[in-house]
Amino acid sequence: MEHATGLVLPNSGHNRDAEASKMGMWLFLFTELLLFGGLFLVYMVYRMLNAEAFLLASFELNIALGTINTVVLLVSSMTIAMAITAIQKGDRKTSVLLLYVTVALSLVFMVIKFFEWSAKINYGYFPGMEVYQNLPAGESLFFFLYFFMTSLHALHVIIGAVFIAVVIYRTNKGFVTAEKYTLTENAGLYWHLVDLIWIFLFPLLYLIH
């Protein structure tokens, strides 16, 4: 805190304010929603303009892998929610364990995603590749959006995992306690957002047949 001297106001911006950090986190999540929202808008318009092509292209995606990944994310959402419960109850060990599980699940998600991507890239569906350039009108747009949306989402998965790793570190150091667990809560909120986005990406990309 920069000012040691002087008047201390009851509503000081330098007070620890858990509610403020949580509110800040929510507001940040709103911006994330609209960031992806822009992409969903593009998706909607292009699907409207190229309904058949999008349908055909979506058959190329692997529903099984998509479903597994959905389950992975849902479970990880639960584990981090439980980690919050644990820390609220003062059970630091369980909390950290659950956070580890969450990070592990995020890795599982990324590995599966990686295999999915490389399969597509092997086919040549990546923007700029030979096969991609010769795709029928509309299908290439689908694959562009597929890569754009899933990689932006994957970026969020990575950021989320790093965020959780920080929480683990801070919890182990004893900075996160039963009275002061906003950090865990915020990591949880962020992680749930990652899940939320996927909940919409999954049907829009894989399922709409």
Partner: protein
Amino acid sequence: MTTATTDLNFFQVKRGLFSWIFSIDHKRIGLLYLYSLMTFFLVGVTLGVLMRLELLNPGKDIMEAQTYNQVFTLHGVIMIFLFIIPSIPAVFGNFFLPIMLGTDDVSFPRLNLLSWWIYIIGSIMALSTLVFGDGPADTGWTFYVPFSVNTTTNVTMSVLAAFVLGFSSILTGLNFIVTIHRLRAPGMSFMKMPLFAWSLYATSWIQLLATPIIGITLMMIVAERFFGVGLFDPSIGGDPILYQHLFWIYSHPAVYIMALPAFGIISELLPTFSQRTIFGYTAIAFSSLAIAFVGYFVWGHHMFTSGMSGTGRIVFSIMTFLVAIPTAIKVFNWVATLYKGSINVQPPLLYALAFIFLFSIGGLSGLVLGALATDIHLHDTYFVVGHFHYVMFGGTGFAFFGALHYWFPKIWGKMYNITVANIAFVIFFIGFNVLYFPMLVVGLMGMPRRYYDYLPEFHIPNMISTFGSWILVTGLLLMLGNLVAGLFNGKKTGRNPWNSISLEWQTPSPPPLANFDKLPELPEGGPYNYKND
């Protein structure tokens, strides 16, 4: 109640460059913004004056066509993203919002510093195109595809800069919203909050919810330039018009990011200088929210000639007219605030009055553009250029300088020379109109914008306009010179030279680091309740 143990003001607590650029004090961050912003503003206006010089006569005057295109693009990018979007919130919002709420800082002081750094990085990126790569973008600040994807100039860097600047804008907005929710002084309910805070609240919501859209859109341009997939290419099922939709979904709300804080400033200046309550507090407060909300759904009025569907055009035209209503309400309430006041004519008030006049011209010319028939004729002509300079410069710009004159004694504890300030104002005001009014005229005659060269029949208005730019330069230099002189050898002022009852005037000038030396007292019966009975 504790009292200050020291009389140091926030300038004196620490010294040295690092105590500034790593400060988390909202007042210092506000000033950091002020200095950097004014620097970029001077770059931007210099480009503006150069453009006017080129347009003095038809044919080549001082630069090549390509240079001209780059100049107006850079002018637009600087003015929009580096100057006017951050202007009032980042400078005066940062400095005064916490004080007006009766607290000592924003909710997230460190985040606040981070947004300034992001702003600086983004600005340097934008300006770096002058030096690196194939020169500044030549696309216009709208970056319309497919041209922005084809051209060889450094569009990628300009676009990334706008992306980075967007982050800064989002973080500031986020910070303000939380601050307003969490840190109001005990007893200050939302309905007792100063109107400047209200306008910042509405602005922040736009920053928060519209900026991500431009972020993702600009990323698409970058992806296009790298992979060349033809995301907006109709031959593979894309649609170039979709880009315009995405761009304006952000950029129309963005014009209210520019305008709303200015409305807040005017709502502060008028009560102070007429020494009475504001007329229609509730109407002014809620019209800000109404503008913010309705303003999200009018973006299509920039695209009336793009080949949109007929229904689309009609919907967007109606919405455009609707968004003018809350603005009209504000204007009427402001004028009514002067009624039976005890009006003290000082430079800040002159700027406020000029604001009402100039912004009305700008806004009313906006109505001409909002109507379908007339916009078909006037779209992308100098009429539009006239319109937006009136609202942005005549509106927000004048409010910015009004605020600077108003809060100058508070920030620095000194007073500039009032007479010189008045003279500068008059020159500034005249120059402004001589510069921009001919643009409306030449637009009606049919001169398109972004024209390096023009037909002979447009010569006279263009010439007058260029003369106007010289008058304006004189006024601006005189004004800034006067302020700088005031900084060095202005007379010391007390806490409250304008005799206002707003909270920021209860503390010493300049304020101490903790903002107050005694607990601030909220005025009884509302923020503008002058004791007149």
